[in-house]
């Protein structure tokens, strides 16, 4: 069929910009004029500590994330109350927030000169958690707790109440019902979210690089250092292979033990009494975790110092000659670059995700293969690009950056679109054909509208990932391709926190505006029938 040929487009994209670079990593990591196991040996001996620390901090981060996220999952899964949908909506914010903003928010709130320290100073309390393991864990938990809240919460929401009713009628009290029925039935979703958070924390780069300081480094940071500072390509590749290997183990656990559960009818309780107080307290904590860092960043961008007067100093400084020399290009150009990459990433990934989804609908067993790029961290991918494309003319060009962003975004965009194809009604297309529509018209009018919600979500993901992407861009960019996150990182290096904050505010505003725009375009698409 003609559609099968269309699949060659995403296939060749993935082969050229994912499979081939990963293959070149294998070559560099295992081969030096012949098979050479020395690099792998060194990876496990010399970098054994780094590897185990990376796994250790990822497990601790995931546990902490579970502790923060599970109460939210309980509230979402059991109660109906006003503002529930608002909490759910707000909880997506950290998920699409660029990691560099998380870092900045963390500095602004918990930093030695941060808001909390200033607020608590009169009480004699001083928070010193920067450049420590706790800083990394807290930042990861903040970044990821919505994953737990939403995944486990939605599994809980769909856990049929009749199981607990049946257990009650068979003599099980509330505690036994939880231990014997609820917990085992939620286990797959808890495992799913745990492994997902583990993967994010395991591959996290910006947070560890900046908040971990010199004392705490992970595989990601070491690959970055080996690739750019020490220039040891074989070692960087060997470590990258370790990264991919460990990720694959966790992805295997995710696909084998995790499941989002069947949907059943759950009777929601009205919130009242002690539960409502606890829920309110928790909602407040969520709101604080999500908004306090962002608002702190905004605060520092508008004052000269803590308690200082309102000023636009940092913003005007941003557009001065000095700033341009720090960043390498003008901030306006950096904004332009970020938008350019983000739009291209959407244009690359969305059509390919649609083609792949329609193809995967008939070849379901290949879905995990299409999701494989999630096993490769952004730093590893970028390093693989350097190894794979060094001699080619696209090396050093903006094309590689777009390709890296697209490969990183592809699994999520594909997943979003694929979810809506599996719920789409095949018969609508048949009905359109029987009414005289050509295959293309049937696709346009009967099939595409059903995929629209998934496409919108996918486009939002693509945009969010590209505009916030840090690790891969840091390895691949040249000064003229500096993006906003890179610019923020560079300004941060000069300790001009106010300007970094101002740049972050610009990034947040741009991202928010773009999400609203994507949403509007999607809504318009749905409204216009012809």
């Amino acid at each position: 069929m003609r559609r099968n040929y269309l699949f060659l487009i995403p296939l060749s994209f993935l082969l050229a910009f994912f499979a081939y670079p990963v293959f070149s990593l294998l070559y560099l990591g295992l081969w030096d004029g012949g098979p050479n196991p020395e690099f792998m040996k060194e990876a496990f001996s010399r970098y054994g500590g780094v590897i185990s620390f990376t796994v250790y901090q990822a497990i601790l981060s995931s546990l902490l994330t579970l502790i923060i996220g599970l109460p939210g999952a309980y509230i979402i899964g059991n109660y109906d109350f006003r503002g529930k949908s608002a909490i759910k909506a707000v909880s997506t914010v950290p998920f699409i927030l660029p990691s560099i903003i998380v870092v900045l928010g963390f500095l602004a709130l918990f930093g030695n000169n941060g808001i909390l320290n200033h607020v608590l100073e009169p009480f004699g309390i001083r928070i010193r958690i920067l450049y420590s393991l706790s800083a990394i864990l807290l930042a990861h938990a903040f970044y990821n707790f919505p994953v737990v809240m939403r995944m486990v919460g939605s599994a809980w929401e769909n856990l049929d109440s009749s199981y607990e009713d049946a257990a009650a009628s068979l003599g099980a009290g509330p505690i036994k019902r939880f231990v014997k029925i609820v917990a085992p039935l939620l286990a797959p979703s808890i495992i799913s979210s745990f492994t997902l958070v583990f993967a994010y924390s395991f591959m996290s780069f910006a947070i560890v690089l900046i908040l971990g300081g010199a004392a705490y480094t992970t595989i990601e940071v070491e690959i970055y250092v080996l690739a750019t500072v020490l220039i040891r390509p074989h070692m960087a590749s060997a470590l990258a292979l370790v990264q991919i290997g460990i990720s694959l183990i966790f992805i295997w656990i995710y696909t084998h033990f995790g499941r989002t559960g069947a949907s059943g009818h759950r009777i929601m309780r009205k919130i009242r009494g002690l539960a409502s107080i606890l829920a309110a307290a928790y909602s407040f904590l969520i709101a604080f975790l999500i908004f306090a860092p962002i608002l702190s960043v905004a605060y520092y961008s508008f004052v000269s110092e803590w308690g200082g007067d309102l000023t636009f100093h940092w913003y005007s400084l941003l557009f001065s000659e000095d700033a341009s020399s720090v960043i390498g290009i003008s901030p306006a150009a950096a904004i332009g670059n970020s938008l350019f990459f983000a739009v291209l990433t959407i244009m690359m990934t969305v059509p390919m995700a649609v083609i792949s989804s329609l193809w995967a609908k008939r070849h379901g067993k290949w879905v995990p293969a299409l999701m494989l790029p999630v096993a490769v961290s952004s730093v590893t991918l970028a390093w693989a690009y350097i190894g794979a494309f060094l001699g080619f003319s696209i090396y050093g060009s903006w094309i590689l950056i777009v390709m890296a962003h697209s490969v990183i975004a592809f699994p999520l965009v594909f997943r979003s679109v694929y979810n809506s194809t599996s719920s789409a009604d095949e018969r609508l297309k048949d009905a359109a054909r029987s009414l005289g529509a050509s295959p293309l018209m049937a696709f346009r009018h009967a099939e595409l509208p059903q995929l629209m919600p998934g496409i919108i979500v996918g486009a939002t993901f693509a945009f969010a990932i590209s505009i916030g992407e840090f690790g891969a861009t840091l390895l691949l960019y040249r000064p003229e391709y500096t993006t906003i996150p890179i610019a923020i990182y560079k300004i941060l290096g000069t300790r001009a926190f106010g300007s970094a904050a101002a740049m972050s505010v610009i990034l947040i505003i741009m991202a928010t505006a773009s999400f609203l725009l994507i949403d509007r375009i999607g809504a318009k698409q749905k409204r216009s029938a012809f």
């Binding site: 009713d165 049946a166 257990a167 068979l170």
Partner: protein, 346 residues
């Protein structure tokens, strides 16, 4: 164990689910709660089980007030509409769950599980997971799980509604057999009148949060209290009439009336036939239903449906517009109250 409900009321947000329901379910008998969806029958069952608490009213098990007793302490067995088999447990674990919760010995549980599985005809299915069973098998597991801990009361919430028609008929007689064998007091919720008549010793017909009538199956079928009960239990001819001085007039002769004022004359389609001594009417339409012909005739402004066993030759003579005489057996005619809530069957 006898169940007694006294003035049970239950409100949900915007609707009154139960409006002062009182009911007595005799010991060792199967009582059906029959009614259309939304009539409150499942709510009533959940209140008996303890899964739901009434806003007011009391529940007595053998005279003991259990209104405040939580479900896990009531010793009732319940079969759910979607079975609610624990998906993470095997068939044997599902059936043994109730006894495990009652802290019985392991040996005892194993023996009882075996015994119950034999009773419901599931021998050899111990190690299966619910997802590996057919609908009928799942239903048997659900029943076995409910009766395994030897509950005082068995509650069945539309236990057969998820199965196809043939399986429903064979399983309902099996449920009846098992209930008789155990001699357990049972409540059976259903919206299927045929099922209710087949399984139960008593039927409580419910509508809009009230019990309209309670009686044995033939009683409610033959002597419905009003047009709703009459039409819910089967096809019913209902002709408006007025009771005056103990009599109500009908085209087929006078009927004794237990009350004065507006009401309707009721009889089943099976109780009228074409006959020379009958009342003149006009055939409107006819359709074959298996062996019988279902004929609709017009009589003044009223439509009447009758069922007639006929040969092919005779049925060829039944044509719209043709005049026929209709006779109704006086013995089966009743003058009943008219609520205007009859379910239209034709």
């Amino acid at each position: 164990m006898e169940i007694k409900l006294e003035k049970i009321r239950k409100r949900f947000d915007d609707s009154e689910a139960l409006r002062s329901v009182s009911l007595r379910a005799p010991d060792g008998k199967m009582t059906a709660l029959l009614g259309p969806s939304g009539c409150g029958k499942t709510t009533l069952l959940r209140i008996i089980s303890g899964l739901l608490r009434p806003d007011s009213g009391n529940i007595f098990f053998d005279g003991k007030d259990v209104t405040e007793v939580p479900p896990e302490k009531r010793n009732v067995g319940m079969v759910f509409q979607n079975y609610a088999l624990f998906p993470h447990m095997t068939v044997a674990q599902n059936i043994g769950f109730g006894m495990l919760m009652r802290k019985r010995q392991k040996k005892e549980i194993e023996m009882r599980v075996k015994e119950v599985m034999e009773l419901v005809g599931l021998k050899g299915y111990e190690k299966r997971k619910p997802s590996e069973l057919s609908g009928g098998e799942q239903q048997r597991v659900a029943l076995a799980r409910a009766i395994a801990p030897e509950p005082d009361i068995l509650l069945l919430d539309e236990p057969l509604s998820a199965l196809d028609a043939k399986l429903r008929i064979s399983l309902r007689s099996e449920i009846k057999r098992i209930q008789k064998e155990l001699g357990i007091t049972a409540i059976y919720v259903t919206h299927d009148r045929e099922e209710a008549m087949a399984v139960s010793d008593r039927i409580a017909v419910m509508n809009r949060g009230r019990i309209e009538q309670i009686g044995n199956p033939m009683e409610v079928y033959r002597d419905p209290k009003n047009d709703f009960v009459a039409s819910f239990l089967g096809d019913a001819n209902l002709i408006p009439s007025v009771g005056v001085g103990g009599l109500a007039k009908s085209p087929f002769g006078d009927v004794p009336a237990s009350f004065d004022g507006n009401g309707c004359i009721f009889f089943r389609p099976g109780n009228c036939r074409i006959s020379d001594k009958g009342t003149e009417s006009v055939i409107i339409s006819s359709e074959p239903v298996g062996d019988v012909l279902r004929i609709t005739v017009g009589l003044g402004n009223e439509k009447i449906v009758l069922l007639e066993k006929m040969s092919l030759f005779e049925s060829a003579a039944i044509k719209p517009g043709k005049k026929v005489r209709i006779y109704v057996d006086r013995k089966y005619m009743r003058f009943i109250r008219c609520t205007g809530r009859a379910t239209k069957t034709f």
